[in-house]
């Protein structure tokens, strides 16, 4: 089947089997490899992308469900919130292996877009679906607070 995707501000024509998860279209067909495969069952969040600015798990979003939504991957993020999140991540050296961090950052942008000043409980609730086997959670939490603070001024 032929599909057209709006991704990172571009229209891209792709061919995929019906039912193919967006994750594999992004990675295998469009070569945007910043979005990661972790579990395939929406249990780790490594595949998180934005559909019309809402974080979704791309491993459980089939290509036909995307329709006209704008897909944003880690490669295509921009704007104040995204910049604040990336800057905070770098300032606190959050990453270790880094494999889950695209997904963490996509979720954190979603959180801060919805809740500009999140409490620890807000962070727990929103970020709980993003697993990090290196256990960088303490720094992720701190970086979200730093980003929130920097967005205030």
């Amino acid at each position: 089947m032929k599909y057209q995707l709006s991704i990172n501000g571009e229209k891209r024509d792709i061919e995929a089997e019906p039912g193919t998860p967006l994750l594999w279209v992004i990675r295998d067909e469009l070569d945007l490899t910043g979005t990661k495969f972790g579990c395939g069952v929406a249990s780790c969040g490594a595949c998180t992308v934005h559909l019309d600015a809402e974080p979704v798990r791309s491993c459980q979003t089939s290509i036909e469900d995307v329709k006209n939504a704008n897909v944003t991957t880690i490669e295509g993020i921009n704007g104040k919130v995204a910049a604040a999140v990336q800057t905070a991540w770098r300032e606190l050296d959050v990453v270790q292996c880094g494999y889950c961090q695209s997904g963490q950052i996509m979720s954190a942008i979603g959180l801060l877009s919805e809740t500009p000043n999140p409490t620890d409980k807000n962070i727990d609730d929103y970020m709980d679906g993003n697993a990090c086997r290196c256990a960088t959670y303490q720094r992720i939490r701190a970086a979200i607070h730093v980003a929130a603070k920097n967005l205030e001024v």
């Binding site: 089997e17 193919t20 998860p21 594999w24 990675r27 295998d28 067909e29 070569d31 945007l32 490899t33 910043g34 979005t35 990661k36 495969f37 972790g38 579990c39 395939g40 069952v41 249990s43 780790c44 490594a46 991957t73 880690i74 490669e75 990336q86 991540w89 770098r90 050296d93 959050v94 990453v95 270790q96 292996c97 880094g98 494999y99 889950c100 961090q101 695209s102 950052i105 962070i123 727990d124 609730d125 970020m127 709980d128 993003n130 697993a131 990090c132 086997r133 290196c134 256990a135 960088t136 959670y137 303490q138 720094r139 992720i140 939490r141």
Partner: protein, 725 residues
Amino acid sequence: MTLNTSRRNFLVGVSASASVLVVGLTSTDSWAASNTAAEITPFIKIDKEGTVTAILKHFEMGQGTTTGLTTLIAEELDADWDKIQIEFAPADGKRYANLLFGAQGTGGSTSIANSYLQYRKAGASARDVLIRAAAAKWSVSPSTVDIQNGLLVSGSHKAHFGEVIDDASKLNPSAEPKLKSRADFRLIGNASLSRKDSHSKTDGSAIFAMDVKVPNMVYASVTHSPKFGGTALSFDLSKAKDVPGYIDAKLLPTKTGVVVYAKNTWAVKQAREQLSIQWDFSKAETRSSDAMVTEHKKLLDTPEFSATKDTNFEATGALLASAETVVEADFLLPFLSHEPMETLNCVIEPTANGVRVYDGSQFPGLTQPTVAAILKLKPEQVEIKTVYAGGSFGRRANGTSDYEAEAAMAFALLGGKTPVKLVWMREDQVAGGYYRPMAAHRIKIGADANGKIVGWDHRTASKSIMKGTPFAGGYVHEGVDHASVEGIADTLYSIPGFSVGLSDFKSPISVLWWRSVGHSHTAFAMESALDMVATDTKKDPVTLRLSLLNSGSKDHMRASAVIKLAAEKAGWDKPLAKNRGRGFAMHKSFNSYVAEVAEVSINSDGSVKIEKITCAVDCGVAVNPDVIKAQMEGGIGYGLGAAMRNEITFTDGVVDQSNFPDYEPIRMSDFPEIDVHIVQSDENPTGVGEPGLPPIAPAVANAIFAASGKRITSLPFSENGISFG
């Protein structure tokens, strides 16, 4: 369909400028290269634009080697930290051996420990030739030339490294260049130094093996035997053939599974689901977990091997018989899977001369000959391009190079001309073995009327990790796999009447080192048992530990110092609110000393909240203090998650777990505050990737006991009626 230019450049890692200076040394403490003193060991490249590239012999799995090794070079070279580039070394055991292994590989928390002098000398040597070349160019004395943040300076002369690189590369580097003294360090020990991999890992540009794509590549994935030791007899692919994108399926020559090929990852997953395989389980593990537990406990009755020279169970038994207080306990720890975020995978493609493997390669020294043997090539015909690894925790370091070997077989079965990406799904990995072995411990400790320990009978049983592997020679002596008893047989504590016995559990289930190896279970038994002694002899757990570390030896002094520091920072002596408790544990592993205090509270519904972990570590000179803190946080978090709720169990030989929903990782909401303190030290650097882990499970178990009176002697906590909230 191919890698874009910037990624290709990253992978290939070749500087645009042809003339590069390669500087390095044969370290005097080098293992094998020492008899070829003239050989240059390349760790630094400098191009004509003056760009310095650190060549990293250790891969990056998150532990911070890209930052650490680069720090050592940049410190001595006075390179500009923000501009220095990194590149992973190719497979070349002569140049890039781990000096503690004698082969190229990363593990055992040795990256900084074995490279500390080697990489600093490389940096100092480059500095020396650059200064001499600049001095000659400017007709000044070398003593007037300095390097300031990557620039050569003498009076009014100024040049970047590239301007003198041609001349410098013709000079003979000194074999023993002058190293900086500690007081002159500006990067080593600098807590505000930023990680070298932070930027690319926060914009999606960092390349992992999973992200490598080469022209005409097909995707392959293997369905393994559902029972360990099972073999595939035949398979039916009639349904798989109908899956769009399906290419082919082949029985692996090892008969350990069937490899399916397709045009993309999704198609290969779909096709595998349609495959029907006949298995032969006649030699397979078919027991369930209960039977395995029973067998482990039975093995404790009659230890097969004595794990220390002084072991004498009869003599220890006599001491215990006359003891005033006797503490007895059995400890049981489950099989555990590593589950790095990036599942196992690699890409193999043909080259003019052999093959190229793109891999988050932890043991190039084993993977290169393994792949070569399968493909009937010479090792040097196998090029390994090391890329970032999405975690490992031990899994990628494997004596059998299992997934790379599988990729080589898949590549050969398809004709040896088509590039293949071999991918494991999460389910393959959870059920795929190479687990931290199940371990049982039986401890009997006697104390006299003053509460002084007089005898300690310790028996343990687990499947040997090292026997039958290339590492057996170094680890197994007189039947004892040291990895099964490390942390017991070599305990720091002065224990009179100490006997340690070991029995090997036998099973086709494959086992492997899991972050901190044997220490991951021995520390739980040792530190829980000590806490029980403290309770029964009415001693403070910290005081008891210090009383067993009072010989005045350096080992005892360093261990005592971390104990005191952790206790002080945690407010060990301060009163606690109701329903709260603190637990203590200290363990030495990988030559580092770590003490941890866990503080927990019991919620009104009986669930446990882990409030805070205080950690003190002595790992010698702290090269990158912030990376050390991150590794303590990570080691604690990884160990805590496993202790809370992870276990691999079996029903009739089949693994019960399949993916994260039933092998649930630690999550943000589980995560306590972690407060890490580093002891100032002038000792040579020691491990940090693993030593944070061993004390966490016993510290939490001891805290739960302090808060609730419930003593937990088996893991995970979730199987002991403990829920976390």
